[in-house]
């Protein structure tokens, strides 16, 4: 609950506006302020995104032509594949969406002065750079006889991750992922407590903004899924010790398929962990720029809950070819198709929100509209892959790569950029340059489509994933795909130009609610940037407010 004035707190300074910002080091390294921690998360996400993006760019360079051009040690290529996946998921998308925007805006949106456990929030953040350092160390320590680093893909299936990589590289990854996992669990506890207990008077659950709903569902997914990953990682860790356990070692009665079940029991909810906050962000943007309240608010909120719940019982559709009983496959086929229903509800509710609206195509809205389009494309190929029979052809081909990059690299990442531009003025007080932001959007949008759409064709034609070299029949679409990487790179350059321009020129401050009448959530009642401590007097939500 919120502390009332005079309740075992020292006397407030007489000057109400003295926000008491600490000095630089204390502010950014001991930070307990949710907005500062959110900013740190965003910076961290950008840095990790650069590392992960560099790895993928090198992969596209290599695959531009048949033959091996850059990765004369093929092990190095697999290391890049594995680290690209791990870094983008755990250190770019999750920190940016949950840590960044979640920390910044969930407390404000529910009308709370800060997160429930500010010091744990600090711990959550600082575990992440520690984890990233562990992962970066793994690049330069021996993985196996073929070279440094871990080349067993982000799924880390044994025996490739146990006997296949005896060196310390994978141990560093286990330690790093455990640290990142604890960071997320602490963050999840913090969000759940904040959202359930610290809502402002009158802010009932059914009035709560959808972004807060999305983070609440995400936090529960994190809380339930990550311990399973932690357990699976510990089991790998003890399996790797000579003379240790044999959980996944068939010669000692273990079962390598068991790891896959444990991993995907975490891994599938993880997919929704990455996309749900983007759903929340897009909902706000669509509503703001259509100048209309969200259509079917309750349906939207409970569709996310449904996606979260069903997301826990579909995991084995990632492993149709592992040799499961056919009835089990039939169940996972049916359960996976069910997820399309709440997802469809969300898509149609966004369209209905725009219907009858007065739509402005500002930069955040462009990203949100692109998100909807790309997510539909990625979603329907997911329906294709849910069919276990067809998956026998498509499993582990580039069709799968195209599918999950459409929902993540374009879904989740477009959600991140949409939120970034939407709240840019709110977070930093200045507005971005529209021309630079527009160039970023269009180059990025065209670029990622040129990268990933041809990968559907590669998969249909039979090209498997994680190949450093391929038969020359696949050359043309690979070339097109690599060309898309150059366009995307130019888009990324404009993103940084936009950042530098905005933060160096430091134009005049934007107003409290620079998007106008459509923006109705609580962050638009505060100054831009918000005061160091907001809501010294808690806001009161009226009965007919909002939805």
């Amino acid at each position: 609950m919120v502390a009332l004035p005079g309740e075992n707190t020292p006397a407030q300074p007489s000057s109400y506006d003295d926000d008491g910002k600490p000095g630089f080091f204390a502010r950014w390294f001991y930070s307990t302020n949710h907005k500062d921690i959110g900013t740190l998360y965003l910076i961290f996400g950008i840095v990790s995104g650069l590392i992960g993006g560099f790895l993928s760019f090198m992969m596209r360079m290599e695959l531009a032509d048949p033959g091996i051009q850059f990765f004369t040690n093929e092990h190095q290529y697999l290391v890049y594949v594995s680290m690209h996946g791990l870094i983008m998921i755990f250190f770019m998308v999750m920190p940016a969406l949950i840590g960044g925007f979640g920390n910044w805006f969930v407390p404000i949106m529910v009308g709370a002065p800060d997160m429930a456990f500010p010091r744990m929030n600090n711990l959550s953040f600082w575990l992440l750079p520690t984890a990233l350092i562990c992962l970066l160390i793994s690049f330069v320590v021996p993985g196996n006889a073929n070279g440094n680093g871990f080349g067993g893909s982000w799924v880390m299936y044994p025996p490739l991750s146990t006997t296949g990589h005896p060196g310390p590289a994978f141990d560093f990854i286990i330690i790093g992922l455990l640290a990142a996992g604890f960071s997320s669990i602490f963050g999840a506890i913090n969000f759940i407590t904040t959202i359930l207990n610290m809502r402002a008077p009158g802010m009932t659950m059914h009035k709560m903004p959808l972004f807060a709903w999305s983070v609440l569902v995400t936090a529960f997914l994190l809380l339930l899924a990550l311990p399973v990953l932690a357990a699976a990682l510990f089991m790998l860790f003890t399996d790797r010790i000579a003379g240790g356990t044999g959980f996944f070692d068939p010669s000692r009665g273990g079962d390598p398929q068991m790891f896959q079940h444990l991993f995907w029991f975490f891994g599938h909810p993880e997919v929704y962990i990455m996309i749900l906050p983007a759903f929340g962000i897009v909902s706000h943007i669509v509503s703001t720029f259509s100048k209309k309240p969200i259509f079917g608010y309750l349906g939207m909120a409970y569709a996310m809950v449904a996606i979260g719940v069903v997301g826990f019982v579909v995991w084995a559709h990632h492993m149709y070819t592992v040799g499961m009983d056919v009835n089990l496959k039939a169940y996972f086929l049916a359960a996976t198709l069910v997820i399309a229903v709440p997802t469809g509800v969300k898509i149609f509710s966004w369209l209905a929100t725009m219907w009858g609206g007065s739509i402005r195509f500002s930069i955040p809205m462009q990203w949100a509209l692109a998100f909807i389009f790309l997510f539909v494309v990625g979603g329907v190929t997911g329906v294709m892959l849910a069919n276990a029979g067809v998956d026998a052809y498509l499993h582990d081909t580039y069709y799968v790569v195209a599918h999950f990059h459409y929902v993540l690299s374009m879904g989740a990442v477009f959600g991140i950029f949409a939120g970034f531009y939407y709240w840019f003025g709110k977070m930093f007080g200045v507005q971005y340059n529209k021309w630079l932001a527009g160039a970023h959007f269009w180059l990025f949008f065209i670029g990622v489509n040129v990268i990933f759409f041809p990968q559907h064709f590669l998969g249909l034609n039979g090209m498997p994933r994680r190949y450093v070299d391929y038969p020359e029949e696949f050359a043309i679409w690979n070339q097109v795909s690599s060309f898309g990487a150059y366009i995307t790179l130019a888009g990324v350059a404009f993103f940084f130009l936009m950042l530098i321009e905005a933060l160096i020129l430091n134009r005049k401050r934007v107003g409290d609610n620079y998007w106008g009448e459509g923006a109705t959530t609580l962050e638009w009642t505060l100054s831009s940037p918000p005061p160091y401590h907001q809501f010294n007097t808690l806001p009161r939500i009226e009965d007919n407010d909002g939805h």
Binding site: Y157, V377, V383, D469
Partner: protein
């Protein structure tokens, strides 16, 4: 006025959906198809040509689902485009405040369920056809190794284990075979015969796949998985290891040679060799099928 808009939007979206079907029918689904291997060039945007009854069914389920999902994408895009034009700020300066419509919310929940049901029935049929093994006539065993495939004929002890290594680039070029697909020793099976494949691994996981037969089965150490196929025509069919298995993951292709039943019987009688001489059957394993 409002209902008129709705009708125009729906009609526009449906027209777009129909257009996408036409485009798909002429471009996508009738594109060039690889015969037992990927097809070269810009044509390669479709499944490889079918060579088994399971792959026939798989192709038709794929087509059905592709029609449905392309229609959905076209429908959503059509609606989006209409909304973006009709309800842009200039055209519609005063937004409505509608935020509920129970009927439409029920419709967009029920209709997807019906579409999914239409899809699920043939998909389930395919799954059971693919996964329930027919009366086996020939059994072969594929063993994944780092990094090649070994094939065994458990019913024919006279046929030595075949070690199937990829041809290197110069060798493949010299023999006019596709590099990274061709091997020095193919798995030989008879046409129009139910072949059961037992798949396992001796170390890392691998996955044994032949796209033209519509099968893919992981090779897991300590576990013997089984799958089946029935090749409907003679020829050579290629696949590539489909589960990450380490540094040479890209360099352990699968080559299946489908021959007539008579030729297969001869091949078995010759201890796994196409040459009629029985004198060379004391050659080491791995050489047998390469004698051709």
């Amino acid at each position: 006025m409002r209902s008129k808009n709705t009708i125009i939007a729906l009609v526009a979206a449906i027209i777009l959906a129909i257009l996408s079907y036409v485009v798909l029918a002429f471009v996508g689904l009738s594109g060039a198809r690889g015969d037992g291997m990927p097809v070269d060039g810009l044509g390669g945007f479709y499944l490889q040509d079918s060579a088994s009854p399971v792959m026939d069914d798989l192709t038709s389920v794929y087509n059905l689902v592709t029609y449905i999902i392309s229609g959905i994408v076209a429908f959503v895009v059509g609606l989006m485009v209409y909304i973006m034009i009709r309800f842009r700020e200039k055209a519609n300066p005063v937004p409505s405040k509608t935020s509920h419509n129970t009927l439409i919310e029920v419709v967009w929940t029920i209709v997807p369920v019906l579409i999914l049901l239409v899809m699920a029935i043939p998909s389930m049929n395919l799954l059971y056809k693919q996964d329930v093994i027919k009366d086996t006539e020939v059994t072969v065993k594929a063993i994944g190794n780092t990094w090649n495939w070994a094939y065994l004929y458990p019913d024919h002890e006279n046929v030595d284990e075949i070690i199937s290594n990829p041809l290197d680039e110069t060798q493949a070029k010299a023999e006019g075979k596709p590099y990274l697909l061709a091997t020095d020793a193919a798995l030989v099976v008879p046409v129009d015969t139910n072949v059961k494949v037992l798949v396992t691994s001796v170390n890392n996981m691998h996955s044994w796949t032949v796209p033209s037969f519509g099968i893919k089965m992981d090779a897991v150490p300590g576990i013997i998985n089984e799958t089946w196929f029935r090749a409907t025509r003679e020829g050579t069919f290629y696949g590539q290891c489909s589960e990450i298995c380490g540094i040479k993951h890209y360099y352990m292709p699968i080559e299946v040679k489908v021959v007539s039943k008579a030729e297969y019987a001869k091949w078995i009688a010759n201890d796994g060799s196409f040459t009629s001489s029985v004198a060379d059957n004391n050659l080491g394993s791995g050489q047998t099928a390469a004698q051709k």
